[in-house]
């Protein structure tokens, strides 16, 4: 047991842990911010994984074509929105089952990305790290927060922006109304399915950007397994956070930290079962959701399609 605690102490006092945690958390946050908005409007957007992956490949492709990280990120955003448009129009114009659309989209994007990856083989590299002078001197967390590849910094303004959009604008109010009670929203003149489609577009935008960040800010090159279920973890973070911006970001940080622990422990010389640690975020999510399920409440119309005149 002493070994365990000294391992924890070693990891907690290691700057690398926090840097790694921040990088994982940023990816999750990119995806989870958009997903929060989509879920607030009533879509359980399973295609988040596909949006991330599409963004990741498009980022690598943009870099390959133009040698520019900025263009890569733009490509990533566009592809994220394209994937979102399929999800949005199939599930909220045609009222097809959103899970089927999402699952099919995940398969489709994975197929297309790995297919194009082997035939194009885009060359890309990670963006340079950018130090924010002064702030990065803070011990332990300074490097983690303020000495990172620059695409990561995009996530900082996104959090308050998303919060403002969702809780301080008319559009946000309508989105929340649509997710809580689509019938009432419809009667008061809100185009329910339009708001839902728009919220999915935002999810596509942020997670496409997240995918671009993953390749251009973190890893440097595209592989098929580059996303590897992080989209699902982001969905879990949204539910873990109880559909509030604060909670969702907390969830992202928690899952990011656990993930980073898994990678840091061996480097500081401790052996821990990697399978059990990989499963930890999921078990933690299930347990916490179990205990807070009564306190938090999902948007009431989550994952229910809206067709005027039905129910």
């Amino acid at each position: 047991m002493g070994g365990f605690f000294s391992a924890i102490a070693d990891v907690v006092t290691n700057e690398v842990t926090y840097s790694g945690a921040m990088r994982f958390a940023a990816l999750l946050a990119f995806a989870a911010i958009g997903e929060t908005i989509a879920e607030k409007a009533g879509t359980l957007n399973i295609s988040l994984e596909g949006m991330l992956l599409g963004g990741a490949f498009a980022g690598a492709l943009g870099m390959h074509l133009t040698e520019s990280v900025t263009v890569g990120l733009m490509f990533a955003t566009v592809v994220g929105i394209v994937v979102a448009s399929v999800q949005a129009n199939m599930s909220h114009r045609l009222s097809a089952n959103q899970f089927v659309v999402g699952l099919a989209l995940n398969t489709l994007v994975l197929g297309i990305a790995s297919f194009l990856n082997t035939s194009i083989q885009p060359v890309s590299r990670a963006a340079h790290r950018f130090e924010i002078p002064g702030l990065s001197e803070i011990p332990l967390i300074g490097d983690a927060l303020f000495y990172q590849p620059w695409p990561l910094y995009l996530v900082y303004p996104m959090v308050p922006a998303a919060w403002w959009l969702l809780y301080r604008t008319r559009w946000g109010l309508e989105v929340r109304a649509v997710g809580e009670n689509p019938q009432s929203a419809d009667v008061s003149g809100i185009d329910v399915n339009k708001r839902r489609r728009q919220s999915i577009y935002i999810a596509g935008l942020t997670s496409g950007l997240g995918g671009g960040y993953l390749v251009l800010g973190q890893i440097g090159r595209f592989e098929d397994a580059v996303v590897g279920g992080q989209g699902f973890i982001a969905i879990a973070a949204v539910i873990f956070g109880g559909w509030t911006m604060r909670g969702v970001i907390g969830g992202c940080l928690l899952f990011g930290t656990v993930n980073s622990f898994r990678l840091t422990l061996p480097t500081v010389g401790h052996e821990l079962n990697s399978e059990l640690l990989s499963a930890a975020p999921f078990v933690v999510t299930i347990v916490t959701v179990t205990f807070f399920a009564y306190r938090t409440r999902e948007p009431r119309a989550l994952a229910q399609p809206f067709v005027r005149g039905l129910t």
Partner: protein
Amino acid sequence: MRPANGPKPAPAAAVTAPSRLREAGVAAAMYLGCIAVALLISAIIVWLTGGSWQAVFSALLDGSLRAPGRWGETIGIAIPLVVVALGTAINGRAGVVNIGQEGQLMMGTAFATYVGVNMGGPGPLVVVCLLIVGAAAGAMWAGIASWLLYWRRVPEVLTTLLLITVASQATGYALKVDWLLLAPFREDRSVRNQVSDQLADDTRIPRLDIWGNDFPISAFAVVLMAVIVFLLFKRSVWGFRMRMLGRNARTAQRAGVSTVTYGTTAMLISGACAGLAGAMMLSGGDFGNYRFTPGFANNIGWEGLLVALVARSHPVGIVVVAFSFAGLRAGSGFLAATGVEREISQVVLALLVLALLVPPAILFIRERRRALSATRDRT
């Protein structure tokens, strides 16, 4: 009350539904059109990357049906897909969501492997036991989700989804330690990789050979299962109650259908089917050569879920859709010769799924419009 001298109601042209034959024709045309569009898009993707789409489609057909013995391969892959999808159909009809078949399948396979390798005794008995244990393990894994759903109202979409990763890590762990699933170190396991012992010859599901097509006899059991599920839905009180619960939980509750009992049952059956599918994959021989490995599930759970969703929980549709999905998977093995990456089969599959979603959605919207305009004429 309409005033007697008021305007006469408009002739109710919209109320009379068009003939059923014409409706069926429209639906069939729509399905064919959508499938054609999906194939067209796939062909364009192949063409854009410099491949030959004729070669790709011909290879897919060869690999699934035309080459000798490929029917057997396709049937072998279709078996677990149908089993997973039948279970999914039951919880789909009951209005409970289960998207964790992949994890339930892994748990089922892991437990079945343990029984199959360690039990001993007469072969047929071992086969039966490992199938039962596999189903029970799958049901247990799904049961966690339904228990949390009815105890603490935890969304079952979340738990089933997250339990997939937990299952994959847990089985991965079991494949790392000797006293669980890892095969003892012998010459047939040269590298120290994660693989279980092979099932003994007499603990495998017998295989049948019809005109050179070789497949496990569980294929017949699967067809029988589809018939049973069909009859349960169509002809039994139990199936009716399940459907009622799915259509309107409140009505069902009023009519004396316990949401908890029937919801849990549906979830358990669904998990059991996924676990059973895993056990059948293990002892059937079409996957992993009678050994359990970390990548054993190979997306069969996800694909089975898609089969059920595309077939709209209809048992006959499930068999048809599962066979075509299995054909795509079997056909992708023949793609290497064309120089086109085998991922294209995934693209074709996903495009087909999306295409198959469109016609029912459009038909549903047309139906709604017609009904709405009919009520508008009446009022």
